[in-house]
């Protein structure tokens, strides 16, 4: 089991989500986040006063998948989330020790 955390451009979310569903990924958790990597922020001007906004809105997708689905999922995200411009986000992968379904206490991949 692996956890995929993908930080993506909000505008790409629908394409990413639809493409993941097509390859059989059923569940995910989505959070609205703010942050920045190499992408610079933008300036806002209110009555002549300039403010630099460097934390930009992004979406964070989290999903825990059985190993066989991890590579297809990563490929799908790479394909659909990419605009080719700076600020497209990142994907992080990590091992997951255990998963437990709260309703019936199923464990392991069965709980996903």
């Amino acid at each position: 089991m692996m956890k995929i955390e993908a930080i993506i451009q909000p505008s790409r979310f629908d394409s990413v989500k639809d493409a993941l569903r097509e390859i059989g990924i059923e569940g995910m958790t989505v959070t609205e986040v703010r942050g920045h990597g190499r992408q610079k922020g933008h300036t806002e001007v209110y009555r002549g006063r300039e403010y630099t906004v460097d934390l930009l809105p992004k979406l964070k997708l989290e999903m825990v998948l059985p190993d066989r689905l991890v590579q297809p999922a990563v490929d799908t995200i790479l394909k659909t989330a990419k605009t080719g411009k700076i600020g497209d986000g990142k994907i992080f992968l990590s091992r997951v020790e255990e998963a437990i379904r709260i309703r019936n206490e199923e464990r392991g991949e069965n709980a996903l």
């Binding site: 209110y46 009555r47 002549g48 006063r49 403010y51």
Partner: protein, 481 residues
């Protein structure tokens, strides 16, 4: 600001027009009486006709009063709408989220506080008596203010209507000042200061400009007849200049100007500005004090100036920043509304466009450049928009006023500079100087007094936590509920 001449002409002409109608009824009466009336040839009108004329006269007066009163009551409500929710939303959106309720509460408080003061002494101090500087106590506790008109000010509407209409101006004026004290003034200090300010600065200025015998009154025997149709000096210069004094006295907000303090909701400000635009028709067109053609003229001038100022501020911003902002457009509109206020009932639509256009540019320059240059923290630009816009408007009124729009100095006598009466520009300058001086000195003294009694500024810890929680014990946006 009083324009009874046109109304009286209308009334007389209606009565005269009615005479032939009545005369045509006489052939229906017996031939003998008709011939005897003709043979006597005296100018005396038969009593039946005289009675009819008198009756008609009363009906015409009542009809005019009904029309004027309807418009003035609506106007009064529109001017109240400017403070709440108009100004409350406009200012509320411009502050940071932790101070939203506090700034709205200040506007709302004034709706209540000034109303009570107005009934007790305020109206009388502004419009009772005929001294040069301040009114008297003849209408204290609203004594003698009822259904009968007060012919000095508005001869066709109940004095109660005039009184409640003028009250709405007294409410919004101190509310404008809260734009400069925003995000750091104590609520107790605000209440005390604005109470004193209303009695010591607003009431005398309102009397000087609008009251009978006032030093600056243009139509009721002022020494320096200053043209101020709807409150350029009384409302906007007084509040704007006082706002500057407050900003300087209070000092900068903690973190200003290093820490970013962007408006927390321009949506609220946008709605507020649109309500101000609408409410201002009551403010300016209502200042004709009648449902007259002058009210229409002021309505049109107000609208055109506002539109032009929204354009000019946006154009300036577009050139300077490459993008015109919503905040810029609505700020420009308010600057235009302020500048046309003294001129509304004196100028034609084309000069109104010019006044608005100039005011938009000047206020843009003040707010974006001059404020940064001097470094004072006029948090929501009450001085930059109202003080400067009001001054520009009061000055340009002297330039553009025309007697064809409003023959306030008598039929055929020129009013403004371009009309051939350049001395009026001098009168306007006197009015502007007196309003500036009065507001500067009065505000400084009253702030000192307030500072000694309640204090004016919250502690830095309270300021950082926000005035909503520390002054009122509540939050505008409760995210846990």
């Amino acid at each position: 600001m009083k324009h009874l001449g046109g109304k009286c002409c209308l009334l007389v002409s209606m009565v005269l027009a009615a005479v032939p109608l009545l005369a045509r009824q006489t052939p229906a009466s017996p031939a003998t009486s008709a011939s005897s009336a003709a043979s006597s040839a005296t100018p005396e009108i038969p009593s039946a006709i005289a009675d009819k004329l008198k009756d008609l006269d009363q009906r015409v007066t009542a009809a005019q009063s009904a029309g004027d009163n309807a418009w003035m009551l609506v106007s009064a409500a529109l001017v109240l709408l400017m403070t709440g929710p108009g100004l409350a939303l406009f200012y509320g959106g411009l502050v940071r989220r932790k101070n939203t309720l506090a700034i709205m509460m200040q506007s709302f408080l004034l709706m209540a506080l000034i109303s009570v003061l107005w009934a007790l002494v305020g109206y009388s101090l502004c419009f009772g008596g005929n001294g040069p500087v301040i009114g008297g106590f003849e209408h204290a506790f609203l004594r003698g203010v009822g259904a009968a008109p007060n012919p000095d000010y508005a001869g066709t509407i109940p004095q109660s209507t005039f009184m409640i209409y003028q009250l709405m101006f007294a409410i919004i004026t101190p509310a404008l000042i809260t734009g400069a004290t925003a995000e750091r003034m104590k609520f107790s200090g605000t209440v005390l200061f604005l109470t004193l300010w209303f009695l010591v600065v607003y009431a005398p200025l309102a009397h000087m400009v609008w009251g009978k015998g006032g030093l600056l009154n243009a139509s009721l025997g002022g020494k320096f007849p200053t043209l101020d149709f709807a409150g350029g000096t009384v409302v906007h210069i007084s509040s704007g200049v006082s706002a500057l004094v407050c900003a300087l006295y209070l000092g900068k907000r903690a973190g200003y100007p290093k820490q970013p303090m962007p408006p927390h909701s321009l949506v609220l400000s946008f709605i507020g500005a649109c309500l101000l635009w609408v409410g201002w028709f009551g403010f300016n067109a209502g200042s004709a004090l009648a449902a007259s053609s002058l009210a229409t003229s002021a309505f049109v001038a107000t609208h055109m100036a506002t539109a032009a100022a929204a354009m000019s501020w946006s154009i300036a911003e577009w050139i300077k920043n490459g993008r015109p902002s919503a905040l810029g457009a609505i700020s420009g509109a308010v600057a235009g509304l302020v500048a046309i206020t003294p001129a509304a009932g004196f100028v034609a639509p084309m000069p109104a466009l010019a006044i608005g256009f100039i005011a938009g540019l000047v206020c843009y320059f003040m707010v974006t450049k001059v404020k940064a240059l001097f470094g004072y923290d006029d948090a929501l630009d009450a001085f930059g928009v109202h003080g400067i816009g009001g001054t520009v408007g009061a000055f340009l009124t002297g330039v553009f006023a025309q007697q064809v729009i409003n023959p306030i100095f008598g039929a055929g006598k020129p009013t403004g500079g371009l009309d051939g009466h350049w001395a009026q520009v001098g009168n306007q300058l006197v009015g502007i100087l007196i309003a500036w001086g009065f507001a500067l000195v009065g505000t400084l003294v009253l702030l000192k007094i307030t500072d000694m009694i309640t204090g004016v500024r919250v502690s830095e810890a309270d300021e950082i936590e926000g005035l909503d929680i520390t002054q009122h014990g509540e939050e505008a946006y409760n995210l846990e509920s």
